[in-house]
């Protein structure tokens, strides 16, 4: 038996260094918290977690008081309940907490609501209603203030930013956003400012967010316990009872962050990081959090477009299929079937990519299909980054390319890991780097120290290979690059491919870069960058389809269909399944389960352990040896990397300005 403390008359073991709150939580004892943010240093700001140490002692904040042997703690004594009630009352009287106006007998509801409308421009009940931690505590402790006067708000609503709204009237100054900004994403854009009853969360000299160092990771939005920080696009539209929440995976880079997608009326209205654990542990970057409404862009195509009379005109799928089949016949008759090719951006599921590959193989007689992504692998869990004393970044601007990985690096740096940066250019992480080198040849690793190397896949790191103390890792720029390699689509020289006579372009390469006789573009958006296309097919993407994906750690995971695809859009697997059938292959079904179990797994000799139904439980690691069967060229052209990210973000409302600044074009 180790050292123990008594909580609510029961003895519990604890370890030195644990706080009272941690011991209680571990044992399922409820203590309310507001300012506490897991994974960061406790601040003890809100005092709601106070507990009784004994009648002779003042209550202590359990989040920041270490457990000590012999403590006798009461978590819900009458004195504590009364104190908590007062704390909540004090938080409630300052600000527009219009969920509770009736609870305050002194407030005149009409006057109060009038004030709220003047401040907020809307008389709606607070946007966090139903999810607000303060509100639920007010219910729990039966707050019905009868004595305290309302305190007016000092600072006006900050509505200038396109993505994040700041409502100072609903801020309780718990400081969770500051902790998220300084200890989770380590951007340090916001801080506590001023003092006493004029205290405020400030960004860079008390300026609006757009004028600060903010990079729009939105970590603060996610941790705000009340309605003070909200996503502007869905303000008053995210009532918890109207919203359906589903877990899914981010559409952007190879980390494959787990996300919670909130939908309402078949439309995504909000995305949060899912705190179920690896890889992202609740964190997200600006792309993952705000980059979803390209799905609802006006320019999104919902019908096939066919060139007739020099202009692209809407058509039916049947017409489009017929033209494709005719053209394939014509061109392979004229130039041979190998003059048909395909370029693809690995943003589609394994099933989509497999069907596409099958079709191209069928019509061109060869695997005339490629993407531009280099082969990468991230060998460790992202949370293990902090275990390395030395982190070496080679040629990568990771804070822009894979921001969540950069979060882990900066967190490790806060805890004492040293960052060595090898890069000719200045990057966002340069200011954290203890050692900055221009070239890899200057880097002399010590054979006694373990290094974690994260490199840009374009960089030649062969001089570091084969050393047991150096772990070499890189991250893909697209979400299913590893999956593309897995189903047999490798890195190809795009320049050769662009000159083929008939090209299927499933990427975001502008059509004027092609030199073809017949160009089929498969892309969500239209006509602007693909004006030379002869035919455009509108695909359904991401959460509009079910499917499996492989992330940079080579974990395979299954994604649900969350929203219905718009208009006449079709998934890639459906499009190419139908085209395959039209060109004479008997494809029985094109459901993801059938393609995965009966086609991909059979093709690649994958075991039953990763049967489609088993993937439902969670991601499965793919063994290393498997990828060796495929030739792995890694001569990626950097110009093409992150091109789709930019295109997608530029089609998101409010995000384009940030995307322009924050997505590395790879110059």
């Amino acid at each position: 038996m180790g050292i123990t403390i008594k909580i609510n008359n029961e003895e519990y073991d604890f370890e030195i260094g644990e706080t009272i709150l941690e011991v209680a939580r571990r044992n399922g004892i409820y203590i309310p918290t507001l300012c506490n943010l897991e994974g960061t240093k406790p601040t003890g700001a809100c005092r709601i977690c106070i507990v009784e140490l004994g009648k002779m002692s003042a209550p202590v904040a359990s989040c920041s008081t270490p457990a000590a042997p012999g403590m006798d703690i009461q978590t819900e004594s009458p004195r504590i309940r009364k104190a908590r009630k007062t704390i909540i009352e004090l938080m409630m009287i300052s600000g527009n907490h219009n969920c509770s106006a009736i609870g305050n007998s002194k407030a005149n509801l009409t006057d109060f609501m009038q004030e709220v409308i003047e401040y907020d421009g809307s008389g709606s009940i607070c946007t966090a209603y139903g999810e607000c931690e303060l509100q639920s505590l007010a219910y729990k402790y039966m707050v019905n203030n009868r004595t305290l006067e309302r305190i007016p708000t000092n600072y006006p609503l900050e509505n200038i930013d396109p993505l994040i709204g700041r409502d100072f009237s609903r801020c309780i100054l718990c400081g969770r956003c500051v902790q998220a900004c300084t200890e989770v994403s380590v951007i340090n854009a916001i801080s506590h400012g001023y003092r006493g009853n004029v205290a405020k969360i400030v960004a860079r000299g008390d300026k609006p967010l757009p004028d600060s160092e903010c990079v729009y990771c939105g970590e603060c939005l996610q941790v705000c316990p009340v309605g003070a920080l909200y996503e502007k696009r869905s303000k008053y539209d995210q009532r918890v009872w109207d919203v359906t929440r589903e877990k899914s995976t981010c559409y952007y880079c190879g980390i494959g962050c787990r996300i919670v997608v909130s939908t309402k009326n078949n439309k995504i209205i909000k995305i949060d990081g899912s705190d179920e654990g690896e890889p992202n542990r609740g964190q997200l970057c600006f792309k993952g959090r705000f980059g979803y409404d390209f799905l609802y862009n006006d320019k999104r195509l919902t019908k096939p477009m066919i060139r007739s009379g020099g202009k692209l005109k809407e058509a039916s799928w049947e017409e489009a299929y017929n033209i494709i089949i005719d053209k394939i016949r014509e061109i392979s008759g004229k130039y041979g079937s190998e003059s048909i090719g395909c370029v693809v951006s690995p943003k589609y599921s394994n099933e989509d990519l497999f069907m596409l590959k099958k079709f191209i193989e069928k019509v061109s007689g060869k695997t005339n299909i490629g993407h531009s992504e280099p082969y990468s692998k991230f060998k460790i869990e992202y949370s293990q980054i902090g275990e390395y004393e030395k982190i070496v970044l080679i040629g990568t601007d990771i804070a822009r390319d894979n921001p969540v990985a950069a979060n882990y690096i900066k967190q490790a740096n806060l805890k004492g890991s040293e960052i060595i940066e090898i890069n000719r250019k200045k990057t966002d992480l340069s200011k954290y780097a203890e050692i900055k080198l221009k070239d890899l040849s200057e880097f002399k690793p010590d054979s006694k120290i373990n290094y974690l190397v994260i490199y840009s896949p374009e960089y030649d790191i062969s001089s570091l290979e084969g050393k047991s103390n150096i772990s070499l890792n890189s991250i893909n720029s697209e979400n299913n690059t590893a999956g593309a390699y897995m189903v047999g689509i490798a890195n190809e020289n795009f320049e050769d491919m662009k000159k083929k006579k008939m090209v299927f372009s499933v990427s975001s390469i502008p059509s004027n870069e092609f030199n073809t006789e017949f160009l089929v573009v498969i892309d969500q958006f239209g006509v602007e960058s693909f004006e030379n296309a002869d035919l455009i097919l509108p695909p359904s993407v991401w959460v509009e389809n079910e499917g499996t994906y492989v992330n940079s750690q080579h974990k395979i995971y299954r994604m649900k269909k969350i929203v219905e695809p718009p208009g006449d859009t079709k998934s890639l697997r459906a499009i190419f399944g139908e085209l395959l059938n039209l060109s004479g292959s008997g494809i029985k079904k094109s459901t993801p389960k059938y393609i995965w179990d009966e086609m991909i797994r059979k093709d690649l000799n994958l075991s039953d352990d990763i049967a489609y139904s088993k993937l439902k439980k969670g991601p499965v690691q793919i063994v290393d040896g498997f990828f060796k069967k495929i030739s792995l060229k890694s001569s990626g052209s950097k110009n093409d990397r992150f091109r789709t990210h930019k295109l997608l973000c530029n089609h998101c409302e409010g995000l384009s300005v940030i995307a322009e600044k924050r997505i590395n074009p790879g110059e």
Binding site: N188, A203, K431
Partner: protein, 169 residues
């Protein structure tokens, strides 16, 4: 992004910041730097915040938080003479509230803009000067004036005005 407040750092300003930084580097505390900057420059300008943030790897917003927490720092230029008017219990009972109002009216300043246009005075309310026996009291720079009346206050202000005219300060 690069929007600066109206003041722009001159070469001399940067030299001054450099020397302050070099002299106090061993102490490794942003408080020390800020105190030096406040006393040398009379306030902490935006460019000084940017300069220090870069040198000390502290974020600008954190620096701003520190500056606005302590009343010894100011982000706006302050006057040559700083008048601290005591709001402590004894002074409050002695009528400091009225005196403070009159003083502000006399100098045409308010809480938002506590500095006179000629930058001769800045009025700062303080919680207690620690000389309750002299209530109501105020402090001009390092000198305490006790048992204030309206007349006495006028005389004190006139004295400092005259001093400035004669170029004594």
């Amino acid at each position: 992004m690069e929007e600066k407040q109206n003041e722009i750092a001159t070469k001399e300003d940067i030299q001054l910041l450099d020397s302050i930084y070099k002299q106090n580097r061993d102490k490794d505390s942003i408080m020390i730097y800020l105190q030096k900057i406040q006393s040398e420059m009379g306030y902490v300008p935006q460019y000084a915040i940017e300069y220090l943030a870069g040198k000390t790897k502290t974020s600008e917003s954190h620096m701003f938080g520190v500056i606005t927490f302590y009343s010894q720092f100011s982000t706006k230029p302050v006057g040559k003479n700083i008048i601290k008017i005591c709001n402590g219990t004894a002074c409050h009972v002695g009528g400091s509230k009225v005196l403070g109002k009159k003083l502000k009216a006399m100098l045409h300043v308010d809480d938002e803009n506590p500095t006179t246009e000629d930058r001769l005075f800045t009025v700062q309310p303080v919680a207690c000067l620690g000389c309750c026996a002299l209530a109501p009291a105020m402090m001009v720079n390092d000198k305490v004036y006790g048992t204030l009346t309206l007349e006495k206050m006028k005389d004190i202000i006139d004295f400092y005005k005259k001093e400035a005219e004669n170029g004594d300060i």
